[in-house]
Protein backbone atom coordinates (compact mmCIF):
# COMPACT_ATOMS: atom_id res chain seq x y z
CA UNK A 1 0.00 0.00 0.00
CA UNK A 2 2.81 2.36 0.95
CA UNK A 3 4.72 1.62 -2.26
CA UNK A 4 1.54 1.95 -4.25
CA UNK A 5 1.00 5.45 -2.81
CA UNK A 6 4.55 6.51 -3.69
CA UNK A 7 4.21 5.12 -7.23
CA UNK A 8 0.84 6.75 -7.84
CA UNK A 9 1.99 10.12 -6.49
CA UNK A 10 5.21 9.96 -8.57
CA UNK A 11 3.31 9.20 -11.77
CA UNK A 12 0.85 11.97 -10.93
CA UNK A 13 3.68 14.48 -10.44
CA UNK A 14 5.40 13.54 -13.70
CA UNK A 15 2.12 13.92 -15.57
CA UNK A 16 1.38 17.25 -13.89
CA UNK A 17 4.90 18.52 -14.69
CA UNK A 18 4.43 18.21 -18.45
CA UNK A 19 0.64 18.55 -18.60
CA UNK A 20 0.24 22.33 -19.16
CA UNK A 21 2.07 22.14 -22.52
CA UNK A 22 -0.78 20.05 -23.89
CA UNK A 23 -3.59 22.25 -22.63
CA UNK A 24 -5.28 25.32 -24.09
CA UNK A 25 -5.65 28.52 -22.07
CA UNK A 26 -8.98 27.60 -20.47
CA UNK A 27 -7.81 24.20 -19.27
CA UNK A 28 -4.54 25.70 -18.03
CA UNK A 29 -6.59 27.95 -15.75
CA UNK A 30 -8.56 24.93 -14.55
CA UNK A 31 -5.30 23.07 -13.92
CA UNK A 32 -3.89 25.95 -11.85
CA UNK A 33 -7.06 26.04 -9.75
CA UNK A 34 -6.79 22.27 -9.33
CA UNK A 35 -3.22 22.62 -8.01
CA UNK A 36 -4.11 25.45 -5.61
CA UNK A 37 -7.16 23.64 -4.20
CA UNK A 38 -5.08 20.46 -3.85
CA UNK A 39 -2.69 22.36 -1.59
CA UNK A 40 -5.56 23.73 0.51
CA UNK A 41 -7.19 20.30 0.74
CA UNK A 42 -3.89 18.72 1.81
CA UNK A 43 -3.44 21.44 4.44
CA UNK A 44 -6.93 20.61 5.67
CA UNK A 45 -5.89 16.95 5.72
CA UNK A 46 -3.10 17.77 8.21
CA UNK A 47 -5.63 19.19 10.68
CA UNK A 48 -8.61 16.91 9.99
CA UNK A 49 -7.07 13.69 8.71
CA UNK A 50 -3.71 13.53 10.47
CA UNK A 51 -4.56 15.22 13.78
CA UNK A 52 -8.24 14.26 13.78
CA UNK A 53 -9.61 17.70 14.63
CA UNK A 54 -12.97 18.62 13.08
CA UNK A 55 -11.91 21.86 11.44
CA UNK A 56 -14.48 23.50 9.16
CA UNK A 57 -12.75 26.85 8.72
CA UNK A 58 -9.80 26.14 6.45
CA UNK A 59 -11.03 28.62 3.81
CA UNK A 60 -10.32 31.35 6.37
CA UNK A 61 -6.56 30.70 6.37
CA UNK A 62 -6.63 30.33 2.59
CA UNK A 63 -8.37 33.70 2.34
CA UNK A 64 -6.03 35.26 4.86
CA UNK A 65 -3.02 34.41 2.69
CA UNK A 66 -4.76 35.67 -0.45
CA UNK A 67 -5.84 38.93 1.19
CA UNK A 68 -2.40 39.59 2.72
CA UNK A 69 -0.76 39.28 -0.68
CA UNK A 70 -3.47 41.45 -2.24
CA UNK A 71 -3.33 44.16 0.43
CA UNK A 72 0.46 44.36 0.62
CA UNK A 73 0.75 44.46 -3.15
CA UNK A 74 -2.16 46.79 -3.91
CA UNK A 75 -1.90 49.28 -1.04
CA UNK A 76 1.81 49.11 -0.20
CA UNK A 77 3.34 48.10 -3.56
CA UNK A 78 5.18 45.07 -2.27
CA UNK A 79 6.33 42.65 -5.01
CA UNK A 80 4.25 39.43 -4.99
CA UNK A 81 7.15 37.17 -4.05
CA UNK A 82 8.06 39.41 -1.11
CA UNK A 83 4.56 38.99 0.33
CA UNK A 84 4.97 35.19 0.59
CA UNK A 85 6.67 35.13 4.01
CA UNK A 86 3.98 37.40 5.46
CA UNK A 87 1.20 35.39 3.80
CA UNK A 88 2.56 32.31 5.54
CA UNK A 89 3.49 33.75 8.93
CA UNK A 90 0.29 35.68 9.64
CA UNK A 91 -2.03 32.67 9.04
CA UNK A 92 0.33 30.53 11.13
CA UNK A 93 0.10 33.04 14.00
CA UNK A 94 -3.67 33.24 13.67
CA UNK A 95 -3.84 29.45 13.49
CA UNK A 96 -1.90 29.18 16.74
CA UNK A 97 -3.74 32.00 18.51
CA UNK A 98 -7.21 30.81 17.50
CA UNK A 99 -6.45 27.14 18.09
CA UNK A 100 -4.90 27.59 21.53
CA UNK A 101 -8.17 28.20 23.43
CA UNK A 102 -10.26 25.68 21.44
CA UNK A 103 -8.25 22.52 20.74
CA UNK A 104 -9.48 20.86 23.91
CA UNK A 105 -13.09 21.06 22.65
CA UNK A 106 -14.85 17.85 21.63
CA UNK A 107 -15.32 17.12 17.91
CA UNK A 108 -18.67 18.74 17.14
CA UNK A 109 -18.00 21.80 19.25
CA UNK A 110 -14.67 22.38 17.54
CA UNK A 111 -16.45 22.12 14.22
CA UNK A 112 -18.94 24.80 15.17
CA UNK A 113 -16.28 27.16 16.56
CA UNK A 114 -14.24 26.92 13.37
CA UNK A 115 -17.38 27.64 11.31
CA UNK A 116 -17.79 30.69 13.56
CA UNK A 117 -14.23 31.86 12.87
CA UNK A 118 -14.79 31.54 9.16
CA UNK A 119 -18.03 33.54 9.26
CA UNK A 120 -16.54 36.30 11.41
CA UNK A 121 -13.59 36.47 9.00
CA UNK A 122 -15.84 36.92 5.96
CA UNK A 123 -17.89 39.58 7.79
CA UNK A 124 -14.69 41.46 8.60
CA UNK A 125 -13.77 41.40 4.91
CA UNK A 126 -17.23 42.52 3.78
CA UNK A 127 -17.39 45.33 6.33
CA UNK A 128 -14.01 46.56 5.13
CA UNK A 129 -12.28 46.69 8.49
CA UNK A 130 -9.43 49.20 8.47
CA UNK A 131 -10.42 50.30 4.95
CA UNK A 132 -7.99 47.91 3.24
CA UNK A 133 -10.06 44.85 2.27
CA UNK A 134 -12.18 46.59 -0.36
CA UNK A 135 -15.52 45.51 1.16
CA UNK A 136 -17.87 43.13 -0.68
CA UNK A 137 -16.14 43.72 -4.04
CA UNK A 138 -12.69 42.80 -2.79
CA UNK A 139 -9.47 44.02 -4.38
CA UNK A 140 -8.86 44.12 -8.13
CA UNK A 141 -5.64 44.74 -10.03
CA UNK A 142 -2.94 42.82 -8.20
CA UNK A 143 0.42 43.01 -10.01
CA UNK A 144 1.83 39.99 -11.84
CA UNK A 145 4.78 38.18 -10.31
CA UNK A 146 8.23 39.55 -11.06
CA UNK A 147 11.49 37.66 -10.62
CA UNK A 148 14.87 39.25 -11.42
CA UNK A 149 13.15 41.79 -13.63
CA UNK A 150 11.17 39.21 -15.65
CA UNK A 151 7.43 39.48 -15.59
CA UNK A 152 5.89 36.08 -14.93
CA UNK A 153 2.31 36.78 -15.88
CA UNK A 154 1.54 33.87 -18.24
CA UNK A 155 -0.72 31.04 -17.10
CA UNK A 156 2.25 28.74 -17.60
CA UNK A 157 4.40 30.65 -15.11
CA UNK A 158 1.61 30.68 -12.55
CA UNK A 159 1.06 26.98 -13.19
CA UNK A 160 4.64 26.19 -12.29
CA UNK A 161 4.47 28.50 -9.28
CA UNK A 162 1.45 26.51 -8.05
CA UNK A 163 3.19 23.25 -8.96
CA UNK A 164 6.23 24.16 -6.83
CA UNK A 165 3.92 24.99 -3.92
CA UNK A 166 2.23 21.60 -4.34
CA UNK A 167 5.61 19.84 -4.42
CA UNK A 168 6.58 21.63 -1.22
CA UNK A 169 3.30 20.60 0.41
CA UNK A 170 3.71 16.97 -0.66
CA UNK A 171 7.29 17.02 0.64
CA UNK A 172 6.05 18.21 4.01
CA UNK A 173 3.27 15.62 4.06
CA UNK A 174 5.59 12.69 3.25
CA UNK A 175 8.12 13.87 5.81
CA UNK A 176 5.42 14.34 8.39
CA UNK A 177 4.46 10.69 8.12
CA UNK A 178 8.00 9.57 8.82
CA UNK A 179 8.74 12.02 11.62
CA UNK A 180 8.23 12.11 15.33
CA UNK A 181 5.55 14.77 14.87
CA UNK A 182 3.64 12.62 12.41
CA UNK A 183 3.66 9.64 14.76
CA UNK A 184 2.54 11.82 17.64
CA UNK A 185 -0.35 13.20 15.57
CA UNK A 186 -1.33 9.69 14.55
CA UNK A 187 -1.43 8.49 18.15
CA UNK A 188 -3.37 11.44 19.41
CA UNK A 189 -5.95 11.00 16.66
CA UNK A 190 -6.42 7.34 17.47
CA UNK A 191 -6.68 7.89 21.23
CA UNK A 192 -5.86 11.25 22.81
CA UNK A 193 -5.98 9.91 26.36
CA UNK A 194 -3.53 7.10 25.64
CA UNK A 195 -1.28 9.53 23.75
CA UNK A 196 -1.27 11.91 26.70
CA UNK A 197 -0.48 9.08 29.10
CA UNK A 198 2.61 7.94 27.17
CA UNK A 199 3.98 11.46 27.38
CA UNK A 200 2.82 13.11 24.17
CA UNK A 201 1.97 16.76 24.70
CA UNK A 202 -1.33 16.51 22.80
CA UNK A 203 -2.19 20.16 23.19
CA UNK A 204 1.11 21.28 21.68
CA UNK A 205 0.83 18.90 18.74
CA UNK A 206 -2.77 19.85 18.03
CA UNK A 207 -1.84 23.53 17.94
CA UNK A 208 1.16 22.65 15.79
CA UNK A 209 -1.10 20.88 13.29
CA UNK A 210 -3.38 23.93 13.14
CA UNK A 211 -0.42 26.25 12.58
CA UNK A 212 1.12 24.09 9.87
CA UNK A 213 -2.21 23.69 8.06
CA UNK A 214 -2.83 27.43 8.28
CA UNK A 215 0.61 28.28 6.86
CA UNK A 216 0.21 26.01 3.84
CA UNK A 217 -3.29 27.30 3.17
CA UNK A 218 -1.96 30.87 3.40
CA UNK A 219 0.73 30.08 0.83
CA UNK A 220 -1.94 28.62 -1.47
CA UNK A 221 -3.82 31.89 -0.97
CA UNK A 222 -0.91 33.86 -2.41
CA UNK A 223 -0.97 31.72 -5.55
CA UNK A 224 -4.74 32.16 -5.78
CA UNK A 225 -4.49 35.96 -5.53
CA UNK A 226 -1.77 35.94 -8.21
CA UNK A 227 -3.75 33.74 -10.57
CA UNK A 228 -6.88 35.90 -10.60
CA UNK A 229 -5.03 39.16 -9.80
CA UNK A 230 -8.07 39.78 -7.62
CA UNK A 231 -9.57 38.63 -4.33
CA UNK A 232 -13.15 38.86 -3.08
CA UNK A 233 -14.87 37.60 0.08
CA UNK A 234 -17.15 35.01 -1.53
CA UNK A 235 -14.18 32.87 -2.57
CA UNK A 236 -13.51 32.22 1.13
CA UNK A 237 -17.06 31.74 2.41
CA UNK A 238 -17.53 28.91 4.82
CA UNK A 239 -19.23 26.80 2.15
CA UNK A 240 -15.71 26.51 0.67
CA UNK A 241 -14.52 25.17 4.01
CA UNK A 242 -17.34 22.64 3.87
CA UNK A 243 -16.10 21.50 0.47
CA UNK A 244 -12.52 21.05 1.69
CA UNK A 245 -13.81 19.22 4.76
CA UNK A 246 -15.85 16.85 2.57
CA UNK A 247 -13.02 16.34 0.07
CA UNK A 248 -10.66 15.11 2.77
CA UNK A 249 -13.21 12.68 4.22
CA UNK A 250 -14.59 11.44 0.90
CA UNK A 251 -11.03 11.02 -0.36
CA UNK A 252 -10.05 9.09 2.74
CA UNK A 253 -7.40 11.52 4.04
CA UNK A 254 -4.55 9.87 2.16
CA UNK A 255 -2.57 11.94 -0.38
CA UNK A 256 -3.95 10.20 -3.50
CA UNK A 257 -7.44 10.19 -2.00
CA UNK A 258 -7.45 13.92 -1.24
CA UNK A 259 -6.10 14.82 -4.69
CA UNK A 260 -8.70 12.57 -6.28
CA UNK A 261 -11.35 14.32 -4.20
CA UNK A 262 -10.19 17.75 -5.43
CA UNK A 263 -10.24 16.44 -9.00
CA UNK A 264 -13.81 15.20 -8.67
CA UNK A 265 -15.02 18.37 -6.91
CA UNK A 266 -13.33 21.05 -9.03
CA UNK A 267 -12.20 19.58 -12.36
CA UNK A 268 -15.04 17.20 -13.26
CA UNK A 269 -17.63 20.05 -13.15
CA UNK A 270 -15.56 21.85 -15.79
CA UNK A 271 -15.98 18.86 -18.09
CA UNK A 272 -19.76 18.81 -17.62
CA UNK A 273 -20.29 22.53 -17.83
CA UNK A 274 -23.74 22.38 -19.41
CA UNK A 275 -24.98 20.60 -16.28
CA UNK A 276 -23.48 23.25 -13.98
CA UNK A 277 -26.72 23.80 -12.03
CA UNK A 278 -26.88 20.08 -11.21
CA UNK A 279 -23.35 20.07 -9.81
CA UNK A 280 -24.02 20.24 -6.07
CA UNK A 281 -27.22 18.23 -6.31
CA UNK A 282 -25.26 15.35 -7.79
CA UNK A 283 -22.34 15.83 -5.39
CA UNK A 284 -24.65 15.72 -2.42
CA UNK A 285 -25.95 12.33 -3.51
CA UNK A 286 -22.43 11.18 -4.29
CA UNK A 287 -21.31 12.15 -0.78
CA UNK A 288 -24.14 10.18 0.85
CA UNK A 289 -23.64 7.10 -1.32
CA UNK A 290 -19.86 7.23 -0.95
CA UNK A 291 -20.12 7.34 2.84
CA UNK A 292 -22.57 4.44 2.93
CA UNK A 293 -20.44 2.28 0.63
CA UNK A 294 -16.99 3.31 1.87
CA UNK A 295 -17.29 5.06 5.26
CA UNK A 296 -13.51 5.49 5.45
CA UNK A 297 -13.21 7.17 2.06
CA UNK A 298 -12.18 6.27 -1.49
CA UNK A 299 -8.53 5.68 -0.63
CA UNK A 300 -8.23 5.31 3.14
CA UNK A 301 -4.99 6.38 4.77
CA UNK A 302 -2.72 3.71 6.20
CA UNK A 303 -0.05 4.43 8.69
CA UNK A 304 3.43 3.05 9.29
CA UNK A 305 4.42 -0.58 9.05
CA UNK A 306 2.21 -2.13 11.69
CA UNK A 307 1.61 -5.82 10.90
CA UNK A 308 -1.98 -6.67 9.96
CA UNK A 309 -2.60 -8.95 12.92
CA UNK A 310 -1.80 -6.15 15.37
CA UNK A 311 -4.35 -3.76 13.98
CA UNK A 312 -7.54 -4.05 15.93
CA UNK A 313 -10.92 -3.44 14.40
CA UNK A 314 -10.85 0.36 14.12
CA UNK A 315 -14.39 0.71 12.94
CA UNK A 316 -15.25 3.08 15.75
CA UNK A 317 -11.89 4.80 15.70
CA UNK A 318 -12.67 8.08 13.96
Amino acid sequence: MKNLTVTVVSIFLVVMAILPHFLDARWQTVAVTFLIFSVVALSQDIVLGKAGMFNMGQAMFFGMGAYITAILNYHYDWPILATIPVAIIVPVLFGILLAAPIVHLRGDYLLVVTIGFNIVFVQVLINNLGGVTGGPNGIFGIDPMRLLGFELSSQLAIYYFAFIVLLLTLGIMFNLEKSKVGRALHYLREDPLAAESIGINTRLYKIFAFGLGAGLAGLAGTVFATQYSAVSPEAFEFIQSVLFFSIVLVGGSSIPGVILGVFVMFVVPEIFREFATWRFFVFGFAMIIMMILRPRGIWPATFGKIPKFLIKDTKHGA
Binding site: Y109, V120, P192, L249, G284, A318
Partner: protein, 298 residues
Protein backbone atom coordinates in the same frame (compact mmCIF):
# COMPACT_ATOMS: atom_id res chain seq x y z
CA UNK B 1 -36.76 53.22 25.67
CA UNK B 2 -38.82 53.01 22.49
CA UNK B 3 -35.91 51.37 20.66
CA UNK B 4 -35.54 48.99 23.55
CA UNK B 5 -39.19 47.90 23.54
CA UNK B 6 -39.30 47.70 19.76
CA UNK B 7 -36.18 45.52 19.64
CA UNK B 8 -37.57 43.44 22.50
CA UNK B 9 -40.69 42.69 20.43
CA UNK B 10 -38.63 41.96 17.31
CA UNK B 11 -36.18 39.86 19.27
CA UNK B 12 -38.92 37.71 20.79
CA UNK B 13 -40.41 37.13 17.32
CA UNK B 14 -37.15 36.08 15.69
CA UNK B 15 -36.22 34.20 18.85
CA UNK B 16 -39.32 32.03 18.73
CA UNK B 17 -38.58 31.13 15.10
CA UNK B 18 -34.98 30.21 16.03
CA UNK B 19 -36.30 28.16 18.93
CA UNK B 20 -38.70 26.17 16.71
CA UNK B 21 -35.89 25.34 14.30
CA UNK B 22 -33.39 24.71 17.11
CA UNK B 23 -35.66 22.01 18.56
CA UNK B 24 -35.09 19.92 15.43
CA UNK B 25 -31.32 20.12 15.82
CA UNK B 26 -31.29 19.46 19.51
CA UNK B 27 -33.64 16.46 19.42
CA UNK B 28 -31.67 14.74 16.66
CA UNK B 29 -28.40 15.50 18.41
CA UNK B 30 -29.77 14.26 21.71
CA UNK B 31 -30.57 10.80 20.38
CA UNK B 32 -28.12 10.31 17.50
CA UNK B 33 -25.17 12.57 18.52
CA UNK B 34 -25.25 13.92 14.97
CA UNK B 35 -25.45 17.50 13.73
CA UNK B 36 -28.23 17.26 11.17
CA UNK B 37 -26.78 19.76 8.71
CA UNK B 38 -29.75 19.21 6.41
CA UNK B 39 -32.25 20.59 8.93
CA UNK B 40 -31.73 24.23 7.91
CA UNK B 41 -32.39 23.32 4.30
CA UNK B 42 -35.51 21.43 5.32
CA UNK B 43 -36.70 24.67 6.91
CA UNK B 44 -36.01 26.55 3.68
CA UNK B 45 -37.74 23.80 1.69
CA UNK B 46 -40.81 24.14 3.94
CA UNK B 47 -41.20 27.80 2.96
CA UNK B 48 -41.15 26.85 -0.74
CA UNK B 49 -43.51 23.92 -0.24
CA UNK B 50 -45.85 26.30 1.62
CA UNK B 51 -45.70 28.68 -1.33
CA UNK B 52 -46.64 25.91 -3.74
CA UNK B 53 -49.41 24.54 -1.50
CA UNK B 54 -50.83 28.08 -1.36
CA UNK B 55 -50.84 28.62 -5.14
CA UNK B 56 -51.56 25.10 -6.40
CA UNK B 57 -53.64 23.34 -3.75
CA UNK B 58 -55.43 26.17 -1.97
CA UNK B 59 -55.99 28.30 -5.07
CA UNK B 60 -54.53 31.37 -3.33
CA UNK B 61 -57.21 31.43 -0.66
CA UNK B 62 -56.35 33.24 2.56
CA UNK B 63 -59.29 32.30 4.75
CA UNK B 64 -58.49 31.08 8.25
CA UNK B 65 -59.26 27.52 7.22
CA UNK B 66 -56.98 27.75 4.18
CA UNK B 67 -54.09 29.14 6.22
CA UNK B 68 -54.39 26.41 8.84
CA UNK B 69 -54.58 23.82 6.04
CA UNK B 70 -51.43 25.24 4.44
CA UNK B 71 -49.56 24.95 7.74
CA UNK B 72 -50.75 21.40 8.42
CA UNK B 73 -50.15 20.14 4.88
CA UNK B 74 -46.66 21.63 4.74
CA UNK B 75 -45.74 20.29 8.16
CA UNK B 76 -47.03 16.83 7.18
CA UNK B 77 -45.14 16.82 3.89
CA UNK B 78 -41.91 17.92 5.54
CA UNK B 79 -42.33 15.26 8.24
CA UNK B 80 -42.41 12.66 5.44
CA UNK B 81 -39.28 14.19 3.88
CA UNK B 82 -37.60 14.07 7.29
CA UNK B 83 -38.36 10.37 7.72
CA UNK B 84 -37.09 9.62 4.21
CA UNK B 85 -33.95 11.67 4.91
CA UNK B 86 -33.22 9.67 8.03
CA UNK B 87 -33.91 6.37 6.28
CA UNK B 88 -31.69 7.14 3.28
CA UNK B 89 -28.84 9.24 4.61
CA UNK B 90 -28.45 8.51 8.33
CA UNK B 91 -29.70 5.03 9.21
CA UNK B 92 -27.15 3.14 7.07
CA UNK B 93 -24.38 5.09 8.84
CA UNK B 94 -25.42 4.57 12.42
CA UNK B 95 -22.46 2.31 13.23
CA UNK B 96 -20.01 4.03 10.86
CA UNK B 97 -17.33 6.47 12.10
CA UNK B 98 -18.84 9.76 13.32
CA UNK B 99 -17.30 11.80 10.53
CA UNK B 100 -18.89 9.66 7.83
CA UNK B 101 -22.31 10.59 9.16
CA UNK B 102 -21.31 14.27 9.20
CA UNK B 103 -20.30 14.07 5.53
CA UNK B 104 -23.55 12.31 4.74
CA UNK B 105 -25.46 15.10 6.50
CA UNK B 106 -23.56 17.72 4.50
CA UNK B 107 -24.36 15.78 1.34
CA UNK B 108 -28.05 15.68 2.25
CA UNK B 109 -27.92 19.42 2.85
CA UNK B 110 -26.49 20.01 -0.63
CA UNK B 111 -29.10 17.73 -2.17
CA UNK B 112 -32.03 19.52 -0.52
CA UNK B 113 -30.66 23.02 -1.08
CA UNK B 114 -29.94 22.41 -4.75
CA UNK B 115 -33.14 20.42 -5.13
CA UNK B 116 -35.01 23.60 -4.12
CA UNK B 117 -32.99 25.56 -6.66
CA UNK B 118 -33.76 23.08 -9.44
CA UNK B 119 -37.49 23.02 -8.65
CA UNK B 120 -38.23 26.64 -7.72
CA UNK B 121 -35.35 28.42 -9.42
CA UNK B 122 -32.35 30.32 -8.11
CA UNK B 123 -34.10 33.67 -7.70
CA UNK B 124 -35.75 35.08 -4.61
CA UNK B 125 -39.48 34.28 -4.35
CA UNK B 126 -42.00 36.34 -2.44
CA UNK B 127 -43.97 34.48 0.18
CA UNK B 128 -47.75 35.14 0.05
CA UNK B 129 -49.46 37.47 2.50
CA UNK B 130 -51.37 34.80 4.39
CA UNK B 131 -52.08 36.94 7.46
CA UNK B 132 -53.75 40.38 7.23
CA UNK B 133 -51.34 43.31 7.63
CA UNK B 134 -52.58 44.56 10.98
CA UNK B 135 -50.45 46.81 13.17
CA UNK B 136 -50.84 48.13 16.68
CA UNK B 137 -48.97 51.18 17.87
CA UNK B 138 -48.17 51.33 21.59
CA UNK B 139 -46.61 54.76 22.08
CA UNK B 140 -44.18 54.42 19.18
CA UNK B 141 -43.65 50.69 19.50
CA UNK B 142 -45.17 48.97 16.47
CA UNK B 143 -46.27 45.37 16.80
CA UNK B 144 -47.83 43.45 13.92
CA UNK B 145 -50.42 40.69 13.99
CA UNK B 146 -47.83 38.40 12.39
CA UNK B 147 -45.45 38.96 15.29
CA UNK B 148 -48.11 38.18 17.85
CA UNK B 149 -49.18 35.04 15.99
CA UNK B 150 -45.61 33.80 15.61
CA UNK B 151 -44.89 34.30 19.28
CA UNK B 152 -48.14 32.74 20.54
CA UNK B 153 -48.14 29.73 18.21
CA UNK B 154 -44.47 29.03 18.90
CA UNK B 155 -45.00 29.18 22.65
CA UNK B 156 -48.01 26.87 22.44
CA UNK B 157 -46.07 24.37 20.32
CA UNK B 158 -43.09 24.47 22.64
CA UNK B 159 -45.18 23.96 25.76
CA UNK B 160 -46.99 21.08 24.04
CA UNK B 161 -43.69 19.49 23.07
CA UNK B 162 -42.32 19.92 26.57
CA UNK B 163 -45.38 18.24 28.08
CA UNK B 164 -45.21 15.46 25.49
CA UNK B 165 -41.55 14.76 26.29
CA UNK B 166 -41.97 14.96 30.06
CA UNK B 167 -45.41 13.48 30.71
CA UNK B 168 -46.11 10.75 28.15
CA UNK B 169 -44.76 7.24 27.74
CA UNK B 170 -43.47 8.06 24.25
CA UNK B 171 -41.69 11.09 25.66
CA UNK B 172 -40.09 8.88 28.27
CA UNK B 173 -38.95 6.54 25.49
CA UNK B 174 -37.36 9.52 23.69
CA UNK B 175 -35.59 10.59 26.86
CA UNK B 176 -34.39 7.04 27.50
CA UNK B 177 -33.03 6.70 23.96
CA UNK B 178 -31.12 9.93 24.30
CA UNK B 179 -29.46 8.78 27.53
CA UNK B 180 -28.41 5.35 26.33
CA UNK B 181 -29.63 3.78 23.09
CA UNK B 182 -28.48 0.27 23.92
CA UNK B 183 -30.03 0.25 27.37
CA UNK B 184 -33.24 1.67 25.89
CA UNK B 185 -33.31 -1.14 23.34
CA UNK B 186 -32.89 -3.69 26.13
CA UNK B 187 -35.87 -2.14 27.92
CA UNK B 188 -37.99 -2.93 24.87
CA UNK B 189 -37.95 0.46 23.24
CA UNK B 190 -37.86 0.37 19.45
CA UNK B 191 -35.08 2.89 18.92
CA UNK B 192 -35.63 2.98 15.16
CA UNK B 193 -39.21 4.17 15.58
CA UNK B 194 -38.09 6.67 18.22
CA UNK B 195 -35.59 8.14 15.77
CA UNK B 196 -38.27 8.27 13.08
CA UNK B 197 -40.59 9.99 15.57
CA UNK B 198 -37.90 12.54 16.35
CA UNK B 199 -37.48 13.32 12.67
CA UNK B 200 -41.26 13.68 12.33
CA UNK B 201 -41.49 16.13 15.25
CA UNK B 202 -38.30 18.01 14.39
CA UNK B 203 -39.12 18.38 10.71
CA UNK B 204 -42.70 19.50 11.25
CA UNK B 205 -41.68 22.07 13.88
CA UNK B 206 -38.92 23.19 11.52
CA UNK B 207 -41.49 23.41 8.72
CA UNK B 208 -43.67 25.71 10.81
CA UNK B 209 -40.55 27.75 11.57
CA UNK B 210 -39.86 27.93 7.84
CA UNK B 211 -43.38 29.16 7.10
CA UNK B 212 -42.98 31.79 9.85
CA UNK B 213 -39.72 32.91 8.25
CA UNK B 214 -41.59 33.27 4.97
CA UNK B 215 -44.43 35.22 6.61
CA UNK B 216 -42.11 37.51 8.57
CA UNK B 217 -39.29 38.22 6.10
CA UNK B 218 -41.36 37.70 2.90
CA UNK B 219 -38.35 37.05 0.64
CA UNK B 220 -37.32 33.39 0.48
CA UNK B 221 -34.24 32.04 -1.32
CA UNK B 222 -33.09 28.49 -1.97
CA UNK B 223 -29.88 28.96 0.05
CA UNK B 224 -31.38 30.65 3.10
CA UNK B 225 -31.34 27.33 4.96
CA UNK B 226 -27.69 27.59 5.91
CA UNK B 227 -28.18 31.04 7.40
CA UNK B 228 -31.25 30.31 9.52
CA UNK B 229 -30.02 26.81 10.22
CA UNK B 230 -26.75 28.10 11.64
CA UNK B 231 -28.55 30.60 13.83
CA UNK B 232 -30.88 27.93 15.12
CA UNK B 233 -27.98 25.62 15.68
CA UNK B 234 -26.20 28.29 17.72
CA UNK B 235 -29.40 28.64 19.72
CA UNK B 236 -29.34 24.90 20.40
CA UNK B 237 -25.73 25.06 21.58
CA UNK B 238 -26.39 28.18 23.61
CA UNK B 239 -29.04 26.33 25.60
CA UNK B 240 -27.05 23.12 25.79
CA UNK B 241 -27.36 20.81 22.79
CA UNK B 242 -29.55 17.80 23.37
CA UNK B 243 -31.59 19.71 25.94
CA UNK B 244 -35.12 20.60 24.84
CA UNK B 245 -35.97 23.50 27.21
CA UNK B 246 -32.42 24.68 26.54
CA UNK B 247 -33.14 25.03 22.83
CA UNK B 248 -36.23 27.15 23.58
CA UNK B 249 -34.31 29.39 25.98
CA UNK B 250 -31.32 29.56 23.63
CA UNK B 251 -33.54 30.55 20.70
CA UNK B 252 -35.20 33.36 22.64
CA UNK B 253 -31.89 34.68 23.99
CA UNK B 254 -30.26 34.55 20.59
CA UNK B 255 -33.21 36.35 18.99
CA UNK B 256 -33.02 39.10 21.60
CA UNK B 257 -29.25 39.31 21.27
CA UNK B 258 -29.28 39.71 17.50
CA UNK B 259 -32.20 42.17 17.63
CA UNK B 260 -30.41 44.37 20.16
CA UNK B 261 -27.14 44.23 18.20
CA UNK B 262 -29.00 45.28 15.03
CA UNK B 263 -30.85 47.99 16.96
CA UNK B 264 -28.03 49.48 18.97
CA UNK B 265 -24.75 48.61 17.22
CA UNK B 266 -25.15 47.87 13.53
CA UNK B 267 -26.97 45.29 11.47
CA UNK B 268 -23.98 44.65 9.21
CA UNK B 269 -22.02 43.33 12.17
CA UNK B 270 -24.88 41.27 13.67
CA UNK B 271 -23.57 37.95 12.31
CA UNK B 272 -20.03 38.58 13.49
CA UNK B 273 -21.21 39.47 17.00
CA UNK B 274 -23.48 36.43 17.15
CA UNK B 275 -20.67 34.10 16.21
CA UNK B 276 -18.30 35.76 18.63
CA UNK B 277 -20.89 35.15 21.35
CA UNK B 278 -21.04 31.52 20.23
CA UNK B 279 -17.26 31.12 20.31
CA UNK B 280 -17.10 32.76 23.72
CA UNK B 281 -19.79 30.48 25.14
CA UNK B 282 -18.19 27.37 23.74
CA UNK B 283 -14.86 28.33 25.28
CA UNK B 284 -16.16 29.15 28.76
CA UNK B 285 -19.11 26.77 29.00
CA UNK B 286 -19.12 24.18 26.20
CA UNK B 287 -22.18 22.42 27.56
CA UNK B 288 -24.38 25.48 27.12
CA UNK B 289 -26.58 27.25 29.64
CA UNK B 290 -28.82 24.33 30.62
CA UNK B 291 -26.59 21.48 29.50
CA UNK B 292 -25.42 18.95 32.02
CA UNK B 293 -21.75 18.29 32.45
CA UNK B 294 -21.16 14.93 30.87
CA UNK B 295 -18.08 12.93 31.72
CA UNK B 296 -17.06 11.57 28.37
CA UNK B 297 -14.18 9.61 26.98
CA UNK B 298 -13.10 12.50 24.75
Amino acid sequence: METFLQQLANGLTIGSMFALVALGYTMVYGVMRLINFAHGDMVAAAAFVGLTVYTQVMGQATSLFAVVAIFLLTAGLMACVGVILERVAYRPLRTAPRLSAVVSALGASLVIQNGIMLIWGPRMRIFPELVPQQFWNFGGVVISLIQVLILVISLVLMVALYLFIEKTRMGAAIRASSIDQDAARLMGINVNSIIALIFIIGSSLGAIGGLFIGLYYRGITFNMGWQYGLYAFIAAILGGIGNIPGAMLGGMLLGLFSAFISGYVSSTWADAFTFMLLIFILIVRPTGLLGERVAEKV
